[in-house]
């Protein structure tokens, strides 16, 4: 067989975004040997791109915010599909995790009293997003990176893990290859944390980078874990639309948080239309543009503008406006923040200003931006225990965007950056505990051999299909059939096309050799993407209702019965099996918090 190298760690962390780095800090604090693997260089993970802020109820803005309101907002925003225990832990601990970042050296924007400044965001009752201008993710990842690095982990940059190795005792390690030279490495570990992020790359227009192919979730599935809420894919209301080169790139929600106004092609401020105000939010938003304007300077006595409804609602409204023929020239809507004045915009939204100026030749202090929904985030993911981040596989934990459950059917903006801190830490602590009870186990040579064969096959094939061709077809069908608006017809057509692509993907070929060869790398990524695309489509087909991000044109109503179950996906043989799992009943103390909100 192909020779391979072996390395050993107490704990292996796959992924160096916020979740992976925060997990690493916990492992290193416990004095264990910690290996961190990432596909990119350190500090380049998706987390770096986050803009608007990290949500935690610090209550620095003279508003009666606390974790309970954050809890309630998250569940209402998630259309009641969230795992309540995860949300409880999250809303509580987010506060300490943000303050801890300051101890590590993060420098947030300040209030006049010198505390961390917080901005409003969609679905959050109060100003709750702790931020640094519009580059909060950079602050977060650099802070965690510096902290982790100062504690001496082993960082394997530009390695891609392609399979988890298991025995009857659970996970025992992983197979990886070094992107720069194609060397194969077997990593042995007593415990493994998956922190591999999301999977927006299956869609044509996305704010996600090439890394977002869902490797971690697919590998967990293949190792015996199950996934949850896979139908729930977030379409962010405001992606860039023009020029085509920039299509899909994110326009942060902070623009609306800072007062940005949405107008359709006819100039109408459409978010005020009653049809776009969902029942559960009625009475909570400004009912006239005048009130929305007053809110900018007086948040106590006025309600938020409807542009700050949760993302699922705003994205759908934009989609409907455009479909009804009220779009802009390029088929989007306008987002206008010019009324805030040039100086304010450049201070509060510097990277948006720069992004539009440099890439779109649009001066956002003087003219509106053209926007359209873009695929942004995956609420679904690896099914984990709320308290420990434990997956169904012993020794295997998952945290961050690759895990599911916290956000339910729709994630509120800002909740991911604190999700990755809260559950990154918890996964790290659980891995420490697991590592103390488990030992390095022998590796199954046959599992390694199977992976190596799969990995290297495309290089040996001269006749075969290019991964880029299939990946592009995949994006097309997912964009057309599994996007904002879904139907039985579209989803079944998508499923049969997926079947065809899966077959063709068995004959991939890649030119060149194993040295830094993106064409070859893409071949393995594609198999993960196909697996997860199928999980998304099968779950979306199964859920015969509209809720949160899932909008079925053939089942437009929200069905209370469907509100009682999550869908999980497991792999049986080579088949994906979707199961309905009842949501655990909400305990009284949490029910009381929910009821308070109805008053």
């Amino acid at each position: 067989m192909e020779p391979y190298e072996t390395v050993k760690h107490d704990v292996l962390i796959i992924g160096a975004g916020g979740a992976g780095l925060r997990a690493a800090i916990s492992v290193l604090e416990a004095g264990l040997d910690c290996g961190i693997v990432s596909k990119s260089l350190l500090g380049k993970a998706h987390t770096v791109m986050a803009e608007g802020g990290a949500a935690a109820a610090l209550g620095n803005m003279h508003e009666p915010d606390d974790w309970r309101v954050h809890f309630r907002d998250t569940i209402v925003g998630g259309a009641y599909l969230n795992n309540h225990r995860m949300v409880e832990i999250f809303a509580h601990e987010a506060i300490d995790r943000v303050l801890e970042l300051e101890e590590y050296g993060a420098v947030f924007d300040r209030t006049p009293e010198g505390l961390i400044a917080q901005r409003p965001f969609g679905g959050h009752t109060y100003r709750r997003l702790n931020h640094v201008g519009d580059r909060t993710g950079l602050e977060l990842i650099r802070t965690l990176q510096d902290r982790a690095v100062s504690m001496g982990p082993t960082v394997h940059m530009e390695w891609t893990v392609t399979r988890l190795l298991t025995s009857d005792r659970g996970v025992v390690g992983a197979v990886a290859y070094d992107r720069s030279d194609g060397r194969i490495i077997v990593i042995q570990a007593k415990a493994v944390v998956l922190a591999t992020g999301g999977w927006g790359r299956m869609y044509r227009y996305t704010s996600n980078s090439w890394e977002s192919t869902g490797d971690g979730a697919a590998m967990a599935l293949e190792a015996g874990a199950d996934l949850i809420d896979m139908e729930m894919v977030q379409f962010h209301p405001t992606g860039m639309l023009w020029p085509p080169s920039m299509r899909g790139i994110l326009v942060t929600e902070a623009v609306r948080g800072e007062g940005g106004i949405l107008r359709n092609g006819t100039g109408e401020r459409f978010m005020f239309k009653p049809e776009y105000m969902p029942e559960r939010y009625q009475g909570k938003f400004a009912d006239s543009p005048e009130e929305a304007a007053r809110w900018l300077d007086d948040k106590q006595n006025n309600r938020r503008p409807p542009e700050l409804l949760p993302r699922d609602e705003v994205a759908r409204a934009i989609y409907k406006e455009v479909r009804a023929g009220r779009g802009t020239v390029h088929g989007g809507v306008h987002l206008d923040v010019t009324h805030r004045g040039a100086a304010y915009i450049r201070r509060k939204l510097p990277s948006m200003y720069e992004q539009f100026m440099a890439l779109g030749s649009v001066d956002i202090t003087a003219e509106p931006m053209e926007v359209y929904p873009t695929v942004h985030y995956t609420m679904g993911g690896i099914h984990v225990d709320a308290d420990t981040c434990q997956t169904a596989v012993p020794g295997l934990f998952a945290a961050g965007e690759c895990a599911g459950g916290l956000h339910g059917a729709n994630r509120l903006g800002g909740n991911s950056l604190t999700d990755i801190l809260v559950f990154g830490r918890r996964a790290g602590l659980s891995a420490v505990e697991a590592a103390s009870e488990r030992k390095h186990e022998p590796i199954s040579e046959s599992q390694v051999a199977a992976e190596v064969e799969l990995l290297l096959a495309p290089l040996g094939r001269t006749q075969g299909e290019k991964p880029s061709v299939i990946a592009s077809e995949l994006q097309e069908i997912m964009q057309n059939n599994a996007m904002i608006e879904r139907s039985h017809e579209g989803l079944t057509a998508c499923l049969s096309k997926l079947q065809e692509l899966k077959e063709r993907a068995g004959r991939l070929s890649a030119a060149g050799d194993r040295r830094y060869n993106p064409g070859w790398h893409a071949a393995r990524d594609l198999l993960f993407q196909l697996r997860l695309s199928e999980a998304i489509v099968r779950s979306a087909l199964e859920r015969k209702e509209s809720r949160g991000a899932q909008w079925r044109s053939d089942y437009p109503a929200t069905d209370p019965e469907w509100g009682k179950v999550n869908l999980t996906v497991a792999l049986r043989g080579d088949e994906l099996v979707v199961t309905r799992v009842p949501l655990p009943p909400m305990p009284e103390h949490l029910q009381a918090i929910m009821n308070e909100g109805k008053k």
Partner: protein
């Protein structure tokens, strides 16, 4: 804009290489990274480059475009092609080449590991309070996306190859960010002079000119750091007074 352009991309590795020409179709707003992606997707999947965000936020896609150190995702093609529609794309020069547009930047990460991290002054009350006006300096430096374009143009590293003696502008910015954090208590002056080699910088400002984040590397980071080091080494009395009064 022209309908097609010709990209001359360096192909090769540490043992050598050459420019290869690819014809690509243009579209509105196209950046050089789009052109590279088009080549990878349609003509040659083995072409190696790094990228992540495609929005000038991650600092992965550094290259030398027509000899200028730039982010490929922030470089519109129409600003770069010549009369014949040609754009030349090469890897950044200061670091060892791995393949095509990908270089080995690991030295930078080793430098980062050696910098003494932040330590908040003992007895500081919680929650931490800082004035916006006091954090702004540090925030400017914390905008750095680690694209290493400044490292690649700094002649101390590029022409004189003194990675053994000087950390380079990126890490002057990093040290300045720590030093200008209002609550930091670590003394880094002798470290700056001895290990980091701040004295090697002769203020040519080339680094500042290429920074895509518009950080005033020389003016706001390096010159103040040089002044501090000068204080420490030439004015022991002032230093003592400052130490006793708890100011840096």
């Amino acid at each position: 804009m022209r309908d097609t352009i010709r990209l001359r991309v360096f192909r090769g590795d540490a043992s050598g290489g050459e420019e290869r020409e690819y014809e690509v179709k243009t579209f509105p707003g196209m950046v050089v990274l789009d052109a590279i992606h088009q080549i990878q997707g349609e003509q040659d999947g083995t072409l190696a480059c790094r990228w992540n965000c495609k929005a000038a936020k991650c600092g992965s896609c550094s290259a030398e475009i027509n000899g200028l150190p730039r982010l490929m995702c922030k470089s519109r093609v129409e600003e770069f092609y010549d009369a014949a529609g040609v754009i030349r794309v090469h890897p950044i020069k200061t670091f060892p080449l791995i393949k095509d547009l990908v270089t080995d930047v690991s030295w930078n990460y080793k430098v980062a590991e050696s910098i003494p991290p932040l330590r908040i002054r003992e007895g500081t009350p919680r929650p931490l309070r800082m004035d916006q006006s006091d954090v702004e300096r540090a925030q400017e430096f914390r905008k750095c996306i680690e694209c290493f374009l400044c490292q690649t143009v700094c002649h101390v590293l590029r022409d004189h190859n003194r990675t053994d003696a000087y950390f380079g502008p990126r890490y002057m910015v990093k040290i300045a960010a720590l030093d200008m954090h209002p609550l930091d208590s670590v003394e880094r002056r002798s470290f700056l002079r001895r290990s980091a080699g701040v004295g090697y910088c002769n203020i040519t400002k080339c680094c500042q000119e290429v920074c895509p984040e518009h950080i005033h590397i020389t003016d706001n980071a390096i010159i103040p750091l040089k002044e501090r080091v000068a204080d420490e080494f030439y004015d022991p009395i002032r230093m003592l007074v400052r130490r006793l009064s708890g100011r840096k």
